[in-house]
């Protein structure tokens, strides 16, 4: 019994983390370059493979073959540790995301934890240590400033990120991401309560605080993953390249890929919490419960749905990046502490009152 669980978990880790998420990271880098090119009336990388799809492979080879330069003035141990500390937490959060319903009687989630979102936040916020270490170990002013900015930014937005999903958890009454998706599959997605129990006055009224949560969650996600308009830790116009100024070759690539991995996991979490995870709209092909058997082709469709939604959200991230200019630092802090923190708190109270009034 023990070894069966271990083997199943290993297969799921290999398939979902190494064969799906990592290629997705590479593909999102390619998508970023092609989409930004199209937005700016350019063509983008289109030479390597069909539509330039193999560009990521070429980039990877380039990063591996480049000289791995460690400057003399850095703290070697921490300097080497930092890139791994950015990449690993981003991938570790994959563990609790439900990629699909069930396939061949196995739940399509690596670790079916009962504290899913808490695990994601706890682990994802570890990646700030990577950035802080990189900034400090580089022993140079621009990386240092980038590291300091990143710390304050991540701490500020961690709060609103955590608070923004509290209303959702109150509505679901559940912290297991698999059950949350099952609930949404039966009763309408959090943002789109168009079927099941969601299609009632209660569902529609509750959609208001959920929408506010969604906006706060997405914005905080942008800030957490250091994406534009909140990429102040590395803003190249002021800080050269921020915390990874001193890094080269694969160590730089790890920072770069860590950012995209965090973006994918963030999209995955947003999809799971707000957009019904792997479920199709209007309760099509919805299993009876989280434990019920699911035909294998339903399972495959569910996995496909999840990744389609994630890719859609990644494209949204990319378009936003090429649409908005960077925030000024004081604006960023003001937005985090003065607006989002208060709105998220108020939202929690509002949801509680609404739930009490509607019950």
């Amino acid at each position: 019994m023990e070894w069966q669980i271990i083997i199943a978990a290993t297969i799921k880790i290999i398939v979902f983390v190494f064969l799906t998420t990592l290629p997705l990271v590479a593909m999102s880098v390619w998508a970023e370059r092609r989409v930004s090119a199209a937005i700016q009336d350019r063509v983008g990388p289109n030479r390597v493979g069909p539509f330039g799809l193999l560009q990521a492979v070429a980039d990877g080879i380039k990063f591996l073959l480049k000289e791995d330069f460690t400057p003399n003035h850095v703290r070697k141990g921490y300097f080497w540790l930092a890139p791994a500390l950015v990449m690993v937490p981003a991938l570790m959060t994959c563990a609790v995301l439900p990629f699909g319903s069930k396939l061949f009687g196995e739940k399509m989630v690596i670790a079916d934890l009962d504290v899913g979102p808490l695990f994601v936040f706890a682990v994802a916020s570890l990646s700030v240590y990577g950035i802080v270490l990189a900034g400090w170990a580089s022993n140079s002013k621009y990386p240092f400033l980038g590291g300091v900015r990143s710390t304050s930014q991540m701490i500020s937005y961690e709060i609103s990120l955590g608070l923004s999903i509290v209303p959702l958890l109150m509505i679901y009454g559940e912290l297991n991401l698999g059950s949350i998706v099952q609930y949404q599959a039966e009763n309408g997605w959090a943002l789109l309560p168009l079927w099941g129990e969601g299609l009632s006055a209660k569902g529609w009224i509750l959609a208001v605080p959920v929408f506010v949560s969604f906006i706060i969650f997405m914005t905080s996600m942008f800030a957490e993953t250091n994406r534009l308009p909140f990429d102040l830790p590395e803003c190249e116009t002021e800080l050269v390249a921020g915390y990874h100024t001193e890094y080269s070759s694969m160590k730089f690539a790890l920072f770069f890929l860590g950012e995209y991995a965090a973006m994918i996991i963030g999209s995955g979490l947003a999809v799971t919490l707000f957009l019904g995870g792997w479920s199709l709209p209007f309760g099509w092909l919805t299993p009876e419960s989280t434990e019920a058997a699911v035909p294998w082709w339903h399972g495959l469709i569910h996995i496909g749905t999840f990744f389609a939604k994630v890719i859609g959200l990644i494209l949204f991230f990319i378009v936003i990046r090429w649409t908005l200019p960077r925030f000024r630092y004081d604006q960023l802090m003001r937005l985090g502490w003065v607006f989002f923190f208060e709105i998220a708190l108020f939202n929690v109270v509002l949801t509680a009152l609404l739930l009490w009034w509607l019950s």
Partner: protein, 176 residues
């Protein structure tokens, strides 16, 4: 007196920031879909597609020397182009035309005429200053070579690019 710049007073709708994001995304997605659907094309895929047919009349490519209709080299080695050339790309060694030559009355011709294409900035001042209309900027733009020596165009190469131009200057002809 200091000027006070009037800041626009934003309405609540504008302060919300979200409508602005939607507006911005309309612009970026507009560009995106126009390019993706192929309705608009801005860039050219260089080695496959070239600009050659659409090069404008005034295009300034590689400078070259020309001969006239009697196969006489137009250049009289006055060295004006050498002196005006801002990056000093042109080097001319003049020589006297021997008295038994058909064109002895021209007196001078270039023995060597080198243009360093690594230095050339395609400004066209040589063409402008030439009193004999002997040097022209042609439409060749892909000037390549594998060594610095190869990038220096000598007289032979310059005449090869330039070719013949007729009916511009008649002062050395029999007619005059």
């Amino acid at each position: 007196m200091a000027i006070v710049v009037k800041r626009p007073k934003l309405k609540l709708w504008e302060q919300l920031y979200l409508p602005a994001i939607a507006k911005g995304m309309r612009v970026t997605l507009g560009h995106f879909f126009k390019i993706v659907s192929g309705k608009k094309k801005v860039t050219m895929q260089y080695p496959e597609e070239k600009w050659d047919e659409h090069l404008p009349e005034h295009y300034r490519g590689a400078p070259a020397l020309v001969t006239d209709e009697q196969d006489r080299e137009r250049c009289v080695a006055c060295q004006l182009c050498e002196f005006i050339c801002p990056p000093r790309a042109i080097t001319i060694k003049p020589e006297e035309i021997p008295s038994d030559d058909q064109w002895a009355k021209v007196e001078k011709r270039p023995k060597a005429f080198d243009i360093d294409m690594i230095r050339c900035i395609y400004c066209g001042l040589c063409e402008e200053v030439c009193p004999e209309q002997a040097i022209f900027l042609r439409k060749d733009y892909a000037i390549t070579g594998t060594s610095r020596e190869e990038m220096v165009h000598d007289k032979e190469k310059l005449y090869e690019i330039g070719g013949v131009r007729v009916g511009l200057v008649n002062k050395w002809n029999e007619l005059k």
